[in-house]
Symmetry: D2
């Protein structure tokens, strides 16, 4: 029995067509102007089963920057590097509905910590805790981590985007954190890797492969080798579920119920534990900064195929699939 | 194969003993002074498998008021009565780290709505939407719902507690909501049922039975009859996961990972989907208002037996149990 | 030498004409719909010197409700009745930029107190502390106080406005305050007088006469009898200066510099200590709820005639006038 | 007739003795550890009449850094340099009760502007607008301005304090402001002058002389030459009155009523328009960061000698003195 059935494949193909035809109107991120996207109207979906089956729809092969989707990956590597106990003394894990780029969120946060790793302040703390003797090494390790998860050694970051992007608000956050002792060291060593990680360019397929590794309990789909520990997978999925969709996280949890992380490039990475990774791209954003088409597609797929974490049918289905694989 | 194995039973017995011996120091709710608790040092745990197996530890038979645990049940009945679409136009579903009794939380909340059904303002909205031609009927329906879920027709509310409890902050919230058009009608019809629901007295065993119905996809453990729709179960569990433990919800999700709702009586109701309901009581509260012993016990049990929603082992285990049952 | 010179009279006449011709567009208060204003396009100015000289422009004889202007008068009588030490243990005196009708402002205010007497919460506290054995007596005393200050025994309140106005947000504030122990007693005794005070109807001339008593150190212009103590005048003027113009108070202090209190009826009462009281009416409101025309007129008059508290010329001028009078 | 009478001198001497003997306990600023104060128990008062009369008490000749008192002076020079219209498009003038070093205060402030020039964010904006082709020139002009106001060319800043002080929170504020376009340019040109200004070292007598120039409508006490425009004096005094004493500004306005600016060095600069400048130093700070002894001394002097802006007697007194001088 397959993680992604024929029926489900057909349904996804249907859904992507429906949403693409709607031609959603919404903001697109200003940073996206910097990027030479092959297609600003980029639109796609990809799914990768934990059994390795791949589904793609629309332009799933076009590249876009990870933007905030990278926060889930920076968090994962930081957890691997320094452990949860240490990391969560520097960033809290409470959903609080903070603006993603809020400095206020630190001042008014949980015990003076950034409220969680999915807002900029928390993500900057995470990336600053990734091991490396300087900024280059720190970022190189993160980039390699991403390449390994995606099983694609060609993935790289967009230098032009790093150079041209507006950095002052994140710089403000960085110095505030440093003033609080939550990060130490220089901008180039501790903050620049964060700028670079947001500019890492992937395709929908890359992102779905990464998600599938999380779905597969952190193990490589081909070799079964643990690329991420089960403990880290558990924590990252939990935080994706409670905080991954900006200020729309609670609603998304109710409507869709799949742990997911969005970015203002219009990307969403979603993980159905035990079963599959899904990635969508669609640049028109809703008021929270989430891709309108992406949220719609995931909602339709999740509800139709019972993929939500607390969907009673999911409990049964996942079990079935997972057992067949193990 | 059993939902609650012999090993797990023994482990729970161990855990309850450990925590009871620690004699946690913490605040206890002032409202608890009103209640003639048989034992103020009340301490207990109970678990009920979806297969009907019952485990109890310490004084699991002593009564205590539901307090905020009732919010999950009021939400469930409101969802059954008016549906999610209608209800969520009157209360949002975003975790925001608001103080449970905050009026500010409405003013500054999601589009002028209470941020979620697990803070007082949101819970008052939910209960006000339960069907009934007046306050008495509204509450009678909720009480019957609770009795049916617990399979105990003797459950009742504590009149003395309702009379003597401090009501002005909730009254303030009620009039603010009415001023915003989120509730309509008189205090006695729309607010008094809320006061009564928090004073409903149960035992750990009652509460674990209620939780087990949620774990069993809303169906009666004995008859299989749907007492709650799968859709309502899904939404309630999601909101318990993201917002059920006051301002400690995010941390609890990471540390324990089981959808749960706590009350300042020291009670916690926890649902392991497909597998079991668990209830704990221990009056010493942490800074968020959650039972210190309860959180500790649930953490130990969840981590040892992989009960967390995003615990990779849980995916497998739950599946096994569930299948055997169905 | 006169408090209001011929030149100044002519200037005021000019200014009122200028502003009236501008036909400002702005919101008008919804409560104003309840009032049978003789003229919804009500527009006027009046000034009364501490030497008794009276100036009027436009329709200075038409009636309008005091609305929030009454807060300065309720504060004054509460100070007379219970003293500053006692009163300021129940309401703080910090400008905080709070929304006038905010409940949040109490929760997040200065030590759990309403931030100041010029927001609704603070004003409700003040009025609740006015002496009286019940609500009727409490309000009767305030109404008499207003009549005496205005030297007009015909002043009364608008019963229809009290009946029809939306009361739930203020009721919410009242119960929150009562829950905090900042007010005690029943709605009809402690809150209803507040609703009534906001509906007291005056003319521009009435209001300018009231302001002139403050300008005259609390003494009756005719008899010299102390109607308000100097201590109370000092405190009320200070709070009008720092908090009297809603969230535009700081800007008004810089631009105009005269202690003033505005209401959403479009009224402003302004006090030039030692010299004169000024009142304006003009219903179009700016984003803070202050009369656009009123602010403009006061700014022009204040700057041209150096009436601001920290205007260096004012120091000299006021002194001159005052001396001649005493 | 004198600005500072014999009686008042004797009273001040009494007051300083009373407060010194109380040996107030309170926090002292951590930055003060950097400074080689001649005496950490520094305690003093000085008053300078607009007629030039000087009064000093306790150790009024010992040096201390201006800290936040410098905000009033940076504001004054910025107003002189770019004018109120331009400056107040970059910083608002609303009292909001914000923490002095809050970044949140900008995010949540008046239209995205720092709420007023007396919080760090607002002060950084002001200093960045002082004319100068680079940071050195900008600060040199401010230092010269201070020297001229104090009539003391030996005043300088404390280089060690600038080097060793914790800068990250202000750096965070600076980059946030730059991200919002409210300041432009490099740290060394626009932020470093702010660090330097807070470290300018003065004595109580220097500070009282500076305050006396404000009291004298901006004119040199000796020559009558305008060192500050009347317009700037008016605005600075207004903002000192509404926002000069951190989160205790409203209370201070009611209790004391003199425009004043405090610093965490324990200094307060107070201006009695038309009459005198007063300066106090006493390092023990209250919960808002204001000198406990300083506030007490100013309160006693203000109330006994009717120096408050809305003290009815002040209106008369000031007038008398001022007239005799002019």
């Amino acid at each position: 029995m397959q993680c992604i059935s024929e029926d489900m494949s057909a349904f996804m193909a249907e859904v992507v067509k429906e949403e693409q035809q709607k031609k959603h109107k919404g903001d697109t991120a200003t940073t996206m102007d910097v990027v030479d996207l092959e297609d600003k109207e980029l639109f796609g979906i990809a799914a990768v089963g934990t059994d390795g089956r791949v589904e793609q729809g629309a332009e799933a092969g076009a590249k876009f920057p990870l933007e905030s989707v990278s926060k889930a990956l920076g968090l994962a590597l930081a957890l691997e590097d320094v452990g949860a106990d240490y990391l969560f003394r520097h960033v809290a894990c409470e959903p609080r509905g903070d603006q993603f780029n809020s400095v206020a969120a630190i001042e008014q946060g949980e015990n003076g910590l950034p409220s969680n790793p999915m807002i900029n302040a928390g993500a900057i703390v995470c990336t600053a805790h990734i091991k490396g003797k300087n900024g280059d090494e720190r970022f190189a390790r993160l980039l390699q981590f991403v390449r390994d998860l995606a099983d694609n050694q060609d993935i790289d970051y967009n230098k032009k985007m790093v150079e041209e992007e507006e950095k002052d608000v994140n710089r403000s956050i960085f110095y505030y954190l440093r003033g609080q002792g939550l990060v130490v060291g220089r901008e180039e060593d501790k903050l620049v890797p964060y700028f670079k990680q947001t500019s890492i360019e992937v395709t929908c397929l890359d992102l779905a492969r990464i998600a599938a590794v999380f779905a597969n309990a952190g193990r490589c789909l081909k070799t079964g080798k643990a690329l991420i520990s089960e403990e880290t997978v558990r924590i990252v999925l939990t935080l994706m579920f409670t905080t991954g969709m900006y200020e729309g996280s609670g609603r998304f949890a109710v409507d869709v119920g799949i742990p997911a992380k969005s970015g203002i490039s219009g990307a969403i990475m979603a993980v159905v534990p035990g079963r599959m990774g899904i990635s969508t791209i669609g640049p028109a954003l809703d008021e929270h900064g989430n891709s309108i088409a992406g949220v719609n597609m995931l909602k339709k797929v999740a509800r139709r195929w019972h993929l939500g974490a607390f969907d009673m049918q999911n409990v049964i289905n996942t079990a079935n699939k997972y057992q067949h694989k193990n």
